[in-house]
Symmetry: C2
Subunit: 272 residues, 2 copies
């Protein structure tokens, strides 16, 4: 049980993602759990994961987890939907006894709760949708649910480039979401960390009768419940999250602050 | 002079790119030089490079070059504009005596040739544009040229997702290209391997008075001139290109064939 001995309520929560998108999870965690110390790692040198194969995503996920373990976290949160979908078991094995929470189970649970007619849409990266992870999890929770899934790969670059509310994004959203609307869904899981930035555009296209399920918000609730149950909730003084990245590209700070919704202090460049 | 001894006219041409986009260069090479054997490597496990930092692009470029050297090429072609812009010297050092051609010099030379009023626009990834490599090369070739540059990061995912001629791409192109048009350019360098797929959309937005410069076409001409000068042109029977990748994601073949303009045989997965 590596690291277990060092864990206390004051240990940090480790959060990782393929890049900057997981900062939407950090944002939700900070709102719900302001006293927690968060260490975030974004694998910006190899982003994105969502267009890559399962073996490659597993390899990267193991390396990301090993990096977070250096900081002796009390819990590891997989902010990346693609990793949660394809490599949850890899992260659990690598984490050796440290608790691991992913966004898939959290998002699926919240969707079932909010959907009246149990007709649920899921959107995400190609890798996430092709893995059937959301579909499986939803059926495990409720065998009568009908699930309609669609990969929306352009939403990630549109969000990163600040086009989230642009007319072009609306045109693309209309095209991507047409078949989900034809299927009369009443809830739609935003199964990618970037998608919350497109919420107004997506809501506009799907209409008010469809409830948007933010998996970042959902996982923050699960983290709180998990820490409470383990008696690991912190009462420390709030402090800004520590942000680590594997590459520091142009404009990283601007994009990161857009996702986090606050100004960032030092951003640390680390080697995997 | 590593590998030099093994080089002959029948040695392959090694071409590499961050991903699938460099197949537009292979397509041009095959048209112009049908008797050449081409080995292509796409670093699909770490694509894209154009949003990453110079140190990371240099590291990846050195590893890509080392991989191609295993096949004893007579020439290495950097199909990736980002690598040509940020890491040409790194590739040259790693190639140890094997000739190296990048797309930047080729594209700049062709643009000067085609532009009447020497008002030239350049579009590319964030990293390419921020490097000033095209701007520097154009000024080196002709000190009176006026250069106007603009990063168009969404063009890459739009091309990969098959949205090249979609109305949304036209809206985005209009926004990206407005300031270049205000500057009354008469030639526009497509400084990214993906952009040739958007040619009809870009031409539509900039109008017929602006000549589009395809750097893939330009580098193919330079390769022919270089091999002729070195007496290394092949007269072998035409054969399909050999395609190596570092990751084999979903739908890779479909996207690759769209860029190459032909059906592909076996695609080989290699470790860096």
């Amino acid at each position: 049980m590596l690291h277990q001995s060092a864990i206390s309520s004051h240990s940090p929560i480790g959060v990782f993602d393929s890049g900057v998108g997981g900062l939407t999870v950090v944002r939700q965690l900070r709102q719900l759990l302001p006293n927690e110390h968060i260490i975030y790692f974004g694998d910006t040198a190899r982003v994105p994961y969502g267009t890559k194969s399962e073996p490659t995503v597993r390899k990267y996920a193991a390396e990301d987890t090993a990096l977070l373990l250096r900081y002796e976290p009390k819990l590891i949160v997989i902010a990346c939907n693609t990793v949660s979908a394809l490599a949850l078991d890899t992260v659990q094995e690598t984490a050796k006894g440290v608790g691991v929470l992913g966004v898939i189970k959290a998002g699926a649970t919240l969707a079932i709760e909010k959907s009246e007619h149990k007709r649920i849409g899921v959107i995400g990266t190609q890798a996430t949708i092709a893995s059937y992870a959301y579909q499986r999890e939803l059926h495990r929770l409720n065998k009568d649910v009908q699930v309609f899934a669609k990969a929306c790969p352009l939403f990630v670059p549109l969000a990163e480039e600040g086009f989230a509310t642009h007319e072009a994004s609306k045109l693309i959203a209309k095209e991507y979401l047409a078949e989900l609307l034809d299927s009369r869904i009443d809830a739609l899981i935003l199964g990618c960390t970037h998608y919350p930035l497109l919420k107004p555009t997506i809501q506009d296209v799907v209409g008010k009768s469809v409830e948007l399920i933010d998996s970042a918000e959902a996982v923050a609730r699960e983290v709180k419940a998990h820490l409470a149950q383990q008696q690991l909730l912190s009462d420390a003084t709030p402090q800004p999250p520590r942000v680590l990245v594997s590459d520091m590209p142009q404009r990283f700070r601007t994009v990161a602050e857009r996702f986090l919704g606050m100004e960032l202090g030092e951003i640390e460049l680390v080697a995997l």
